[in-house]
């Protein structure tokens, strides 16, 4: 069974005065197997963010279904949605979204605290995750005291600590310099190698080249997909760039 199954997803926005209808997503279907690292690429306005919001159950699709391990997201009651997100999904955002009122440690522990876990088991979960992400020595610091790369690693730790079925990452390298970006992407690769399923939205070909499969989305539709297979990251990067050129996308960045 697929981990994530998206079927005929549609999302239509109505402009404020109801005059125009904008179709952000038109019949998007794809599925994600456990342990995959998927990148979704597309230019601005192609529907990437709309898709991600729908997957995260932050937004309701106009039509179509999303199944996570066979569970229909639209069947979850509103009041249970937050809990569902907390238990099954991990989020990594472009602008980190760390709370400046918490230390790095408390930011990472936040989802566990919300789930009502006790301090001692929380701590036991935190240490290996922090170790893996190389942020053990900044746990006591506050977000304003650490670099962007460190913030993003803290955010990844926050996403990982609940042991989610799927990590959704929205332009995770968007606010990072190239060195930090490389480090973060290597981390993603490592996490993925240890069995974690990741779905990442990006318009950086370099970021996408670390994934095992890339979906291209354009005008609200899945336009194309390519598998990495046994390619090296560099070779895959070349393939992605070619595809992007083919798609007529000028906006991709290195």
């Amino acid at each position: 069974m697929s981990l994530l199954d998206v079927r005929d997803l549609k999302k239509t926005y109505t402009t404020r005065f109801g005059a125009n209808q904008v179709q952000a997503l038109k019949e998007v279907s794809f599925s994600v197997e456990p342990g995959e690292f998927i990148a979704i690429m597309g230019e601005s306005g192609s529907g990437k963010t709309t898709l991600l919001n729908a997957l995260a159950a932050l937004d309701k699709p106009s039509d179509g279904k999303i199944y996570l391990e066979g569970q229909d997201l639209s069947g979850i009651k509103d009041k249970d949605l937050s809990k569902f997100r907390r238990n099954n999904l991990g989020f990594v955002f472009q602008d980190f979204n760390l709370l400046d009122t918490f230390s790095i440690e408390d930011n990472i522990l936040l989802p566990l605290v919300l789930s009502g876990m006790d301090y001692v088991p929380m701590r036991q979960r935190l240490l290996p995750v922090a170790e893996k992400l190389g942020i053990t020595d900044i746990l006591k610091k506050y977000p304003y005291e650490v670099s962007g790369g460190q913030k993003q690693r803290a955010a990844v730790a926050r996403a990982l600590i609940t042991g989610p079925k799927l990590i959704l990452a929205d332009e995770p390298t968007g606010a990072l310099d190239s060195k930090s970006s490389d480090e973060l992407l290597s981390l993603f690769e490592a996490i993925n190698a240890s069995g974690q399923t990741i779905l990442m939205v990006t318009h950086s070909a370099k970021a996408a080249s670390k994934a095992s499969r890339v979906l291209f989305i354009k005008d609200g539709k899945i336009y194309h997909q390519i598998y990495r297979g046994g390619d090296s990251s560099a070779a895959f990067y070349k393939k992605i760039s070619d595809t992007l050129i083919l798609l007529g996308t000028q906006e991709h960045e290195v």
Partner: protein, 664 residues
């Protein structure tokens, strides 16, 4: 830049920032209106014709200056806040090519418009409400009302000048702030890195210490005279302590909670405690201001309300009967029953001649001298000096027969026995004791000096010494006064009472054989003629208390409102993060609610605590106003706290609505 563009831009930016500026202008309007009313009331005809107008005019003029001082500081403070919030906007102007001079020109027009609108509307409101204010004052002072309408030009001018000066000061402050900062500073001022709050132990402990000192002073001051000076010392300590404690202590408290892992890492506490630490760091000063202002309002209202409620009682205590005759003699001999009976006869004769019926006569004699308690005995003030003024007592000697008559008791003292009537706590309750060199046995000690009307007018703590024979005591050579009182009620109307009191006064001054009766000084007072003075004082104080409370309350509300807006803008991004991380809307609402509640009711809680600790010392101060009724005072405090809390809650409800609107 074209000149005509400045005013347009200024108007535009006021309108765009209306969430900040309209409340500010409203506050200016209220302050100006109140200021005009206070100023015009001083010259109100109703007051200038009042016999006791000296008192009320002084009270009003003190109020006026207090208000001017407070208004300046307060408007200065709020205006700085407004400018701070708008620095980014100025930075943007600068980036778009406006020089600093241009920005300052725009700001000048802004201040000008705000000043013009506030003065115009404020004065209009003041003039319209003046009559209502005057009627209210007339009512409190129990004086007849007049219905002339008019504008007091000199007061209006005074108001315009005072507030123009304040607005000029505000502009200078803006000038200073904008001049100091560079463009990039202006642009970044709102998002400067936020340090995690660290509680400062020294400041926190100092805060607790200061509060403790203030409370200690209030709790231990036993004497009204020293209470006057100590009260202000205590107030300063409490203000300083409140600020330190709320700024630093509150953060420390949150840090302590965070150290307790078992408590902190719980869903309910996790977010609240950490956000509270941040809020407190930034809002400690604001909260302390709210707390101090609330305390002031509560103290003023409850004190003046109590004084007014107790005015009648104080009057009756000070003047136990409608007509009160007091005489001074030169020796103990003249205090004899024979002589005082003769004088009573003189009074009765005159009454009969005038067709006045005398009843409830209250006659007593006393010998007054000053002494002090040196720790073991009472020494005459003529023999030595007491270490401090607090230690002095007014010693009032009276006979047991007078005492028995006035109190209705049946006291029977031996030659060397005395009964003490005093509120002083340092004197012994019973046993052998030395007074003015004579060793006596104290039969008992009671708090009963209100039996004697005169005693309630004494500044020094009165000690009434009841003895078996007034003439036998070894009084000192100097500082001894021999008094006789003849107080009585009549069947006359209030105005006739005053007339008869005057007649009696003149009769004793001109007709009576003073030398023959041993009279050295005579004075007749009616309760009625003093009633006007009493009400001028207490009514005036209550009125001032009410007006200043309105002003302070308005300031409190504005600070609360600005805090809500500020926090709303700051919390908005935090909320969307929490939502994304998996917090439900209801969880967020719950956490926000508990934080807001804490932040809002902490100042009120501290204000009430301050008030409770202020009770003992204010209670002593009230004694100086002849108000010896702690129960009335306690009740008026309770009533004021309840009314104020209700009002505070309403303000909280309204302003937290603004907060939710910004956040969601």
């Amino acid at each position: 830049m074209k000149f005509s563009y400045y005013p347009k831009l200024a108007l535009d930016s006021i309108r765009k920032n209306r969430q900040l500026y309209y409340p500010f202008i409203l506050t200016c309007i209220v302050m100006i209106a109140v200021f005009y009313i206070l100023s015009a009331l001083q010259q109100s005809e109703a007051l200038t014709e009042l016999p006791g107008n000296g008192t009320i005019t002084i009270i009003l003029s003190i109020g006026l200056w207090v208000m001017l001082f407070f208004t300046t500081i307060f408007l200065f403070y709020t205006n700085s806040f407004l400018i701070r919030r708008r620095k980014k906007e100025f930075g943007l102007y600068a980036v778009l090519g406006m020089g600093r001079a241009n920005i300052l020109a725009v700001l000048f027009f802004e201040v000008l418009f705000i000043a013009a609108v506030s003065l115009a509307l404020g004065l209009t409101t003041g003039i319209l409400l003046f009559k209502a204010a005057e009627l209210g004052l007339d009512h409190l002072l129990e004086i007849p009302v007049n219905y002339d309408y008019g504008i007091n030009l000199s007061s209006a001018l005074f108001t315009v000048i005072s507030f123009s000066a304040i607005f000029l000061l505000l502009y200078l402050n803006v000038l200073f702030q904008v001049r100091l900062s560079t463009i990039s500073n202006l642009l970044l001022s709102e998002q400067a890195g936020e340090r995690p709050p660290k509680g400062n132990w020294v400041l926190g402990l100092l805060g607790i210490l200061f509060l403790g000192v203030g409370y200690y002073i209030s709790l231990t001051t036993s004497d009204p005279i020293s209470a006057i000076g100590l009260f202000f010392v205590a107030v300063i300590f409490v203000i300083a302590g409140t600020y330190l404690l709320l700024i630093s202590g509150s953060v420390l408290f949150c840090r302590l909670l965070q150290k307790n892992k078992g408590y902190y890492y719980k869903t309910n506490h996790f977010i609240s405690v950490s956000s509270l630490a941040y809020r407190m760091k930034r809002n400690g000063a604001g909260l302390a201001s709210i707390c101090i202002l609330s305390t002031m309002v509560l103290v003023m209202l409850s004190t003046t309300f109590c004084l007014y409620r107790g005015a009648e009682q104080s009057l009756n205590q000070r003047y136990p009967r409608q007509i009160n005759l007091s005489l001074d003699f030169s020796s103990t001999y003249d205090l004899s029953g024979e002589n005082t009976d003769r004088i009573d006869g003189v009074v009765k004769d005159l009454a009969r001649k005038n067709g006045v019926e005398i009843k409830n006569t209250m006659r007593y004699t006393e010998i007054l001298t000053t002494g002090f308690f040196d720790g073991a005995r009472i020494v005459s003030a003529s023999a030595a000096d007491a270490p401090t003024v607090d230690d002095y007592y007014d010693l009032i000697f009276t006979s047991q027969s007078d005492y028995n008559r006035l109190s209705g008791e049946d006291l029977s003292l031996g030659p060397d026995q005395v009964l003490l009537l005093t509120r002083s706590k340092s004197l012994p309750e019973s046993g052998s004791f030395e007074i003015l060199g004579k060793t006596v046995e104290i039969v008992s000690k009671k708090n009963g000096q209100t039996l004697f009307g005169e005693a309630s007018a004494r500044m020094l703590t009165p000690v009434i010494v009841v003895v078996d024979d007034l003439t036998s005591f070894p009084y000192p050579e100097q500082y001894v006064y021999y008094h006789y009182y003849d107080d009585f009620d009549t069947n006359l109307s209030p105005s006739d009472q005053m007339a008869f009191s005057d007649t009696l006064n003149r009769y004793f001054d001109e007709t009576v054989d003073r030398a023959g009766l041993g009279i050295t000084y005579s004075y007749v007072e009616s309760r009625e003629q003093n009633r006007v003075d009493f009400y001028a004082l207490y009514g005036g104080l209550l009125y001032l208390g009410l007006i200043l409370s309105v002003v302070f309350t308005f300031a409190t509300v504005l600070i609360i409102y600005y805090k809500q807006i500020c926090e709303g803008f700051e919390d908005k991004p935090r909320f969307s993060i929490m939502q994304k991380v998996g917090l439900t809307d209801t969880e967020i609402k719950k956490s926000v609610n508990s934080q807001l509640l804490t932040v809002f009711f902490v100042p009120l809680l501290f204000a009430v605590i301050n008030l409770i600790f202020a009770f003992p010392i204010i209670d002593k101060l009230l004694v100086l106003f002849n108000n010896d009724n702690s129960v009335t005072f306690a009740w008026s405090m309770v009533i004021c706290v309840l009314v104020f809390s209700l009002f505070y809650t309403i303000v909280y409800k309204i302003t937290s609505g603004t907060y939710y609107k910004i956040v969601s």
